[in-house]
Symmetry: C2
Subunit: 202 residues, 2 copies
C-alpha cells in the first residue's frame, strides 16, 4: 500500500500492532481520526499514556487497582475463606459480572506456557502460597482456562498447595448453557456424562 504520508504510515503501523487490528482497519481508524476534532485524538492519546504509565496493582491479589489494596480485597463483607485463582484481571471482571461469587481473588498474571517461555517464576505464585499460609483461606478455586496450558498451571499449583489444609476446586466443565449437543466436542460431552448432576426443574 502506498500511504499518502509518513505520518499516516507511522500511525497505521503503530495501530496495526494491536491484537485483532490489521492494516486495513488501522487505515480506516486513521481516516476516522483525521475527520474528528483534534481534541479527541489528543484526549485518546493522553488516556492511553496515563493508563500505561500510572496503572498500579493490588499488593495482595495483583488485580488492577488505584490504591494499595483493590476494592475487592478492601471489601470486608467479602468471604475471606474463599480464594479464586485467575489468569488475568479480565477474568476477575468476568466473574464479578456474574454476581455469583463473593470471595477474594488472586491474579496469576499469566499461565504456564513453555512455548511462550513463561514458567512458574514469571507468575505471582510465591505471593499466592504466602496468602494461603496465613491460614484464613479454606478453599482455593481454580478458574483457569480449560486448555493444555491451563491444565498444566492447575496441576503445578495443586502440587504446591497439597501440604496446606485447603480444599481445591475447579470450575465445572460441561455443555455451555444454550449449547446444542451436536456441536459439543467429544471430550466435553464425555466429561459431562461422567460428571452428570441430579436434575433440577426450575
Amino acid at each position: 500500500m502506498n500511504y499518502p504520508s509518513r505520518l499516516v504510515e507511522n500511525a497505521v503501523a503503530q495501530i496495526a500492532k494491536l491484537p485483532g487490528i490489521g492494516n486495513k482497519t488501522a487505515l480506516r481508524l486513521v481516516m476516522h481520526l483525521l475527520k474528528q476534532e483534534e481534541n479527541y485524538t489528543i484526549q485518546l492519546a493522553e488516556a492511553l499514556v496515563q493508563l500505561r504509565t500510572q496503572t498500579s496493582y493490588c499488593q495482595q491479589c495483583h488485580h488492577i487497582s488505584e490504591n494499595a489494596l483493590c476494592s475487592i480485597c478492601a471489601d470486608s463483607t467479602r468471604d475471606g475463606s474463599l480464594l479464586c485463582i485467575v489468569e488475568q484481571p479480565l477474568d476477575v471482571l468476568a466473574i464479578e459480572s456474574t454476581g455469583q461469587y463473593k470471595g477474594l481473588y488472586h491474579v496469576l498474571g499469566g499461565i504456564i506456557s513453555p512455548i511462550e517461555g513463561i514458567g512458574p517464576d514469571h507468575l505471582h505464585i510465591e505471593t499466592l502460597l504466602h496468602r494461603v499460609a496465613q491460614g484464613e483461606i479454606k478453599e482455593v478455586i481454580f478458574a483457569i482456562s480449560a486448555t493444555m496450558e491451563g491444565d498444566t498451571t492447575a496441576f503445578y499449583l495443586s502440587k504446591k498447595l497439597k501440604n496446606f489444609p485447603v480444599k481445591i476446586t475447579t470450575l465445572a466443565r460441561g455443555i455451555p448453557i444454550g449449547g446444542q449437543l451436536e456441536y459439543a466436542d467429544e471430550i466435553t460431552l464425555g466429561r459431562s456424562i461422567m460428571a452428570r448432576t441430579l436434575y433440577q426443574s426450575f
Copy 2:
C-alpha cells in the same frame, strides 16, 4: 461493568468512541496495552497526536500530503486531462491500488447528505470548478458511492459542470467480479442487463 480503576474506565471510554470498537473490544485492547512494554503505548500515542496535528492536505486535490502538492499532483507523468472525483482520501488509495488509473484526483472531503447536515458548501466543490475552468481537463470521472447520497452528489456536480467543455463519466455499475447472479439485487441486475457490453474472451 465495574472497571477496576478510573484510568482503565477512561481509556476504555476513549477507545470505544472509535468506529467498530465496542466496550468489550476496548477493554481487551486496554489489557493488551498493560501487558506490553510502556514504550509501545507512548509511541502509539505520539503517532496518533502527530498524525492528527501535523497532517496536511494537497492544495490542489485535497488528498493527504506532506507537501503543498501531493505525490500524485506533483507527478508530471500522470495524465492531466483526466480528473477522478472521489469522496475521501481512502478512495484515492483504493483506486491507486488497482493500478488502472493514471489521471489526477479531486477529493471532495465528503458527500452531500442532508440527514447529516452536509451540504455542497461543506465540500471542495469551488476548487473543483476552478480546476476544471483552467481548461486542461477533458474528462471528469465520478468515482462516488452508488448510494442515494452519492447519486445526489453526482447529480449536483453534473449540473455545476454542464457549462464546461468536459466529458462526464461514472464508474461502471454491474455484477461484481466473482459475484453470483442469484445474490445480485434486482436493481443491479436490471441495470447490468440494460448496460450489457460486448463479450470478450480472454
